[in-house]
Symmetry: C2
Subunit: 508 residues, 2 copies
């Protein structure tokens, strides 16, 4: 902790030391964040705020020291760079990326954004409660203006929205996403109409009974263990909004929530967060303190949670395996229900207004609607005032339903108020990646369904560990998918999967 720049050590060693310190601080801050959501008593908020502000401030200060920029420049010289190990080269690249993003924004813009989003979230909360868009609009206009400035500082090749997107999905561009999503959208709208035209709906009543919360938690733990979640390197607790956080691959914490009258809530929250957690537990532990042993993007992270939640957790083989275990815990509630009945119940498709409650088919339409709006907003093609009408019109067009008010429409999400613009698309990217990974896995493991029905989830975990987890941030997301599946990200795997799956469930 002494001034290491004075000591006679190699630039690569000094960079290691400085990056490790930043990783340590960010893990420490994550511990405080976890505690705040799960354990902290009510009045603890007062000093937790100052503890976090100081940790975040120090983290930023240490990481943006010009010395790190100088070390990077030295090490990026071809003669130096080529002499480095591949993992050290990866560290140089990820550190350069993070350093540039952290140093390109002037302190005044960071402060203005922090202020505007703090006020924005507060205004959004009130506006949503009262369903009054005009209360939020001026705050959003200010945030959009600042995010445009941010994009200008970061820089971009094509359109400003690219710079924002890149924060969450390195290398992704607006043009690529537009192409992927346009195809996905039209096919999904068609699928949704077919589903509606059957006039059928699976029976959810088996899920909607009284299920003892403690026993539900025991069941989620059984499922998590079966998935391969290492409880010696993590834990599960309760929180209002389920989340996953990691303090290194050897300490990954998930939370879930329980509804004592709906079996689906805790089970799928745990599987979803468990999928995130398996990724975090599988990251290369020796590269953690280089910054390379971390998740590469939100899209890849979401692909892991969605693969476990939907592709496995909402499949027939999964229910063939777990139903006997569930029956031991809840003999009365499960009665004579079959795996097929559960599969129907957990895959029911509804034209619903709220994204976070949406099923696997309509979910992407909610995302694409937001993507189309926010990219135009940042591009200056539409104004904040246009949002409610545009939202309602697209909602009718894609989902076949118009929100009765803005609370259930354009005001439902906190993301824009929090300045998270460019974040939404990663949810659907996760679904696309998951489908492509899933198709590859099925191709390579022909008896996958039989194995899953027998409870062999290890085959999936090992495969994901090898193709995705172990690589950390060495490759860009799209490159990682291409290496794992042999193809660039494509929309057709998801479309094919959805059509086949829902064709079976709805009988067409």
């Amino acid at each position: 902790m002494k001034d290491i720049s004075m000591m006679n050590i190699l630039p690569i060693e000094e960079l290691h030391t400085r990056v490790a310190e930043v990783v340590d601080l960010s893990q420490a801050s994550a511990v405080l964040g976890w505690d705040q959501e799960t354990m902290m008593p009510k009045k603890g908020a007062r000093f937790r705020a100052t503890q976090q502000a100081t940790l975040q401030g120090l983290l930023h200060e240490r990481f943006t020291q010009p010395r790190i920029g100088r070390l990077l420049s030295i090490l990026e010289e071809p003669t130096s760079f080529n002499a480095l190990s591949p993992t050290d080269q990866a560290m140089i690249k990820t550190t350069r990326r993070d350093y540039d993003r952290a140093t390109k924004l002037p302190a005044s813009l960071v402060r203005d954004l922090a202020m505007a989003t703090t006020e924005g979230v507060e205004a959004w909360r009130i506006a949503r409660r009262e369903s009054r868009w005009e209360q939020f609009a001026p705050y959003l206009r200010r945030i959009v203006d600042l995010k445009r400035q941010e994009a200008a500082c970061i820089g971009y090749k094509d359109v400003p929205y690219d710079a924002l997107l890149d924060e969450y999905e390195p290398g992704a561009t607006t043009a690529q996403l537009a192409e992927l999503f346009t195809h996905l959208r039209s096919e999904t709208v068609t699928l949704l109409r077919r589903i509606a035209s059957t006039g059928r709906q699976p029976d959810r009543s088996v899920l909607e009974q009284e299920y003892d919360p403690a026993k539900q938690l025991a069941f989620t733990e059984l499922v998590l263990r079966q998935m391969g979640f290492d409880f010696e390197a993590g834990r599960q607790d309760l929180s209002t909004h389920p989340f996953t956080t990691s303090f290194g691959p050897t300490d990954v914490r998930i939370t879930t929530r329980v509804d004592d009258h709906d079996l689906q809530v805790a089970l799928y929250a745990s599987i979803h967060e468990g999928g995130h957690a398996l990724y975090d537990q599988g990251l290369p532990v020796d590269l953690v303190r280089t910054g390379v042993g971390a998740s590469v993007s939100l899209g890849i992270h979401e692909s892991q949670s969605r693969l476990w939640e939907n592709f496995i957790g909402r499949s027939l083989p999964f229910w063939q395996f777990v139903l006997p275990r569930l029956r031991e815990i809840f003999p009365v509630q499960t009665g004579t229900a079959t795996p097929e009945m559960f599969v129907g119940a957990v895959n029911r498709v509804d034209r619903s207004l709220i994204r976070v409650e949406a099923d696997e088919v309509t979910y992407n339409l909610h995302i694409i609607l937001r993507f189309e709006i926010e990219r135009r907003l940042i591009g200056g093609e539409i104004d904040v005032d246009d949002l409610p009408a545009l939202w309602n019109q697209r909602s009718q067009e894609y989902l076949g339903i118009t929100p009765p008010n803005d609370r259930l429409g354009v005001l439902q999400d906190t993301h824009w108020a929090s300045g998270l613009i460019g974040y939404f698309p990663t949810y659907s990217l996760g679904n696309l990646y998951a489908a492509q990974l899933w198709a590859t896995l099925r191709r390579e493991v022909p008896d996958l369904d039989e194995r899953l029905a027998a409870g062999d989830f290890q085959i999936v975990l090992s495969w994901l560990r090898e193709r995705i987890h172990q690589h950390g941030r060495i490759y860009q997301p799209a490159e990682l998918i291409e290496r794992a599946t042999g193809e660039k990200p494509r929309p057709d795997y998801l479309i094919k999967y959805l059509n086949e799956k829902y064709g079976k469930i709805y009988g067409f």
Copy 2:
């Protein structure tokens, strides 16, 4: 978080900012420590070590910046100092004390001590297991040598041991303690002989039954609430070794441990830690980030835990109040037991070898034995090789019992191996302070027993808040006791209390 020395702010404001940052980091580190003992999965230890090393390193680096020394020097000038508010003056004093202690030790000595104690604890663990003193002796010799160097760097008026003592009990001196303890020792030895000569022993059987752990925890929570512990500003969890930690007065966490065949374990662990916690919850919240809103010494802290644990928790009025509540939870186990039976059972005096299991009477003899040995060791009057024989001889002289081996004697505690020399006396100082506070409280509240028997513990808490808690580190420990009780610390209150209490229990 920018370089504030460049900005045009007053020295006192700059000092506030810098001290607050150090407080924040130290709270953050405490959160990580709590998590480690209560929640962290096994494998989390790996990165927790690096997170803590970085936090501690940064904390030290930020606090020992020469800029803080310069600010202090400026603000200590009489014209500046006299213009400051009393709380700012207190901040200058506590910061000066901490800054001097932090900067006087050369980095090489800090490193050597860290190394020697890490190795020392490891060697001690093995030596204790095998009861082989000679395995530990060379490590202890090295630690004693380094602690002498530490004392020389810190400086002292009279003897080197003073410098070590001052770390844990600011202002206390070897001479003062020797005087207090000599008197306490001879009186306690006499009391112990009288107790033994009665040939009587209270019956513990009411405690040693099967008590459901969850119900025991519920009972400890009931007691903690009655004491005034604010569960919105704290929580209780389980850990192997009970402890209290604080992240500011609005988030104070205690732990307890439960023995399902001994009611005493959880109850008195919770009351003891609860006493510490009430102090921490009562510290002046507005002064927390100045460093003044913290506990003043280990002795004062221990006085709070002991007062609640022994003076209240092991008293007849306490049992008169809690027994009906305990009976509701454990009707079978408590049967027809009376408050007097519980008081006898929880106050049984035994000539035992192990300090941490000692009763209220013998406990101080364990401490005084250690104090007498460690002050001579640091003073160079005895050698490490003399310790086992000296320990056994004193043990026989004070406690009337000679350890059969070093594992149950000189090797029982981890303190010396950890470099904690000068720490032991604060346990008995806590008992002395507690007795003096208790005598004052009883004098000022003549119907105290009736109030406690009716469950009015608030009277005690309010009194301690006013006399002790609210002052934080404004006064030195001895001065704080004098302000609270009207007298300097004296041994006779404890001696009188012990004689009266145990006279009743043992009937003399």
